[in-house]
């Protein structure tokens, strides 16, 4: 009998523990054998340790490309109802031009997932809320469709659904009379996947969008926000949005 077994740890158990520990140890800065603490099991609630964010590189975002908008619509089951002025809009492309220099930007704008969201502050029923990990959502079960949040949002990020909705996606319930907006594809994020817009942007080869945990210093988004000059839209409002823009 080995000494390990006497102390209550078998040789096999010891090996298992040591390999698991080694797997979590960083091999080099930012490089790990096993990504630790990124995966959340379904039983686990969203954590305050995480702050989901987006970084949009406006130099890489292509003028005229709306792959992110299309991907969002497909993922979330947003269909054209023939009323373009009132259809729900979770993400849109905005073309900017500096009047003096003539420099142009093309940027996607969606819910900015503020740390201090005005849409939450004004909601009379508590339907508009911020999840522990920073994702701002509408609980349709309590939304009464009053649209206060739509007026409070400085980014025009929310829409109300005017038409009956049929054939919804099983993971994205939507219906008439409720306000809605970008959810950062929360159903994907909860499974450690990227939002649909980010995936589509990478697929098109632009790689203008980076999604990740702003609170994790090892994440690509946190490192890029620390390294490059980034800005937030209407930073003067001090809402601390989770969506950062680079090169704006």
């Amino acid at each position: 009998m080995s000494t390990n077994e006497e102390s209550g740890i078998s040789r096999r158990g010891f090996l298992a523990i040591s390999s698991a520990t080694l797997g979590g140890v960083m091999l080099a800065p930012g490089v790990r054998l096993i990504e630790v603490a990124s995966a959340r099991v379904p039983e686990q609630a969203a954590s305050k340790q995480v702050r989901w964010g987006l970084l949009i590189d406006t130099d890489k975002c292509a003028t005229g490309c709306d792959d992110c908008v299309k991907a969002c619509a497909t993922e979330n089951g947003i269909k054209d109802t023939g009323h373009p002025r009132t259809d729900a809009q979770w993400i849109r492309k905005v073309e900017l031009k500096d009047g003096r220099s003539g420099r142009t930007h093309s940027v996607p704008v969606m819910c900015q997932h503020c740390e201090r969201p005005p849409c939450v502050a004004v909601c009379p029923t508590g339907a508009s809320f911020k999840r522990a990990d920073g994702i701002v959502l509408v609980d349709r079960h309590t939304c009464i469709g009053c649209r206060y949040c739509m007026m409070a949002c400085p980014y025009k990020a929310r829409s109300i659904v005017f038409q009956d909705v049929t054939d919804q996606k099983p993971e994205v319930p939507r219906g008439k009379g409720c306000v809605e907006g970008c959810t950062l594809c929360v159903h994907r994020v909860d499974q450690d996947r990227q939002p649909a817009c980010v995936e589509a942007c990478a697929k098109a080869g632009h790689n203008a969008m980076t999604f990740g945990n702003l609170n994790d210093p090892q994440s690509e988004i946190a490192q890029r926000v620390a390294k490059f000059s980034t800005s937030r839209i209407r930073a003067d409002l001090k809402l601390d949005p989770g969506v950062h823009y680079q090169g704006l």
Binding site: R40, P42, E43, Q44, A45, A46, F129, R131, A132, D133, L137, D139, R140, H141, V165, D167, Q168, K169, P170, E171, P173, R174, G175, K176, C178, V186, H187, R188, D190, Q191
Partner: protein, 150 residues
């Protein structure tokens, strides 16, 4: 059906002599009539119970649900309500008490939905006359198998 047109009730009515002047009948006759009425009514009520329509509950995938049948019948709205708050507000995505879990198991193999006249949810809710709000927003069909499971 009017009670007088019911064959058994009408017979009992005639036998008890309720339509005649009660003074013409002795107490004994009336008692006998009453006993006969009760004897005839008991099977009549039993027959009546069988005539009450029951909802068609079609279970395509027999087996054990997440709780026993009695608990599910009485408690499923509370389970769903509790689960929906956990999922929407906290991001807990366990499947045991989720609406998606219900639909995946209970959707009809014919229509692929829990709605429709014989759909698992709608057949019972129609019968009990309880409004079914879930599917104004939620999909009544499970995710097609071709798409990645979530």
């Amino acid at each position: 059906m009017h009670w007088l047109t019911h064959p058994i009730l009408a017979a009992a009515f005639a036998l008890t002599g309720a339509h005649e002047h009660s003074s013409l009948l002795s107490n004994r006759t009336r008692l006998r009539g009453l006993a006969l009425l009760i004897a005839l009514l008991v099977p009549a009520l039993a027959l009546a119970a069988d005539r009450v329509p029951k909802p068609d509950i079609i279970i395509d995938k027999p087996g054990q649900c997440v709780e026993d049948t009695a608990t599910m019948r009485r408690g499923h709205p509370d389970m769903l309500k509790h689960q929906r708050d956990l999922t929407v507000r906290e991001g807990v995505r366990t499947r045991q008490y989720s609406l998606k879990g219900c639909i995946e198991c209970h959707a009809s193999t014919k229509t692929g939905s829990v709605l429709g006249d014989k759909g698992f949810c709608q057949s019972c809710h129609d019968y009990a006359s309880v409004k079914l709000d879930c599917f104004e927003c939620h999909s009544s069909k499970p995710k097609p198998a071709s798409e990645p499971k979530s």
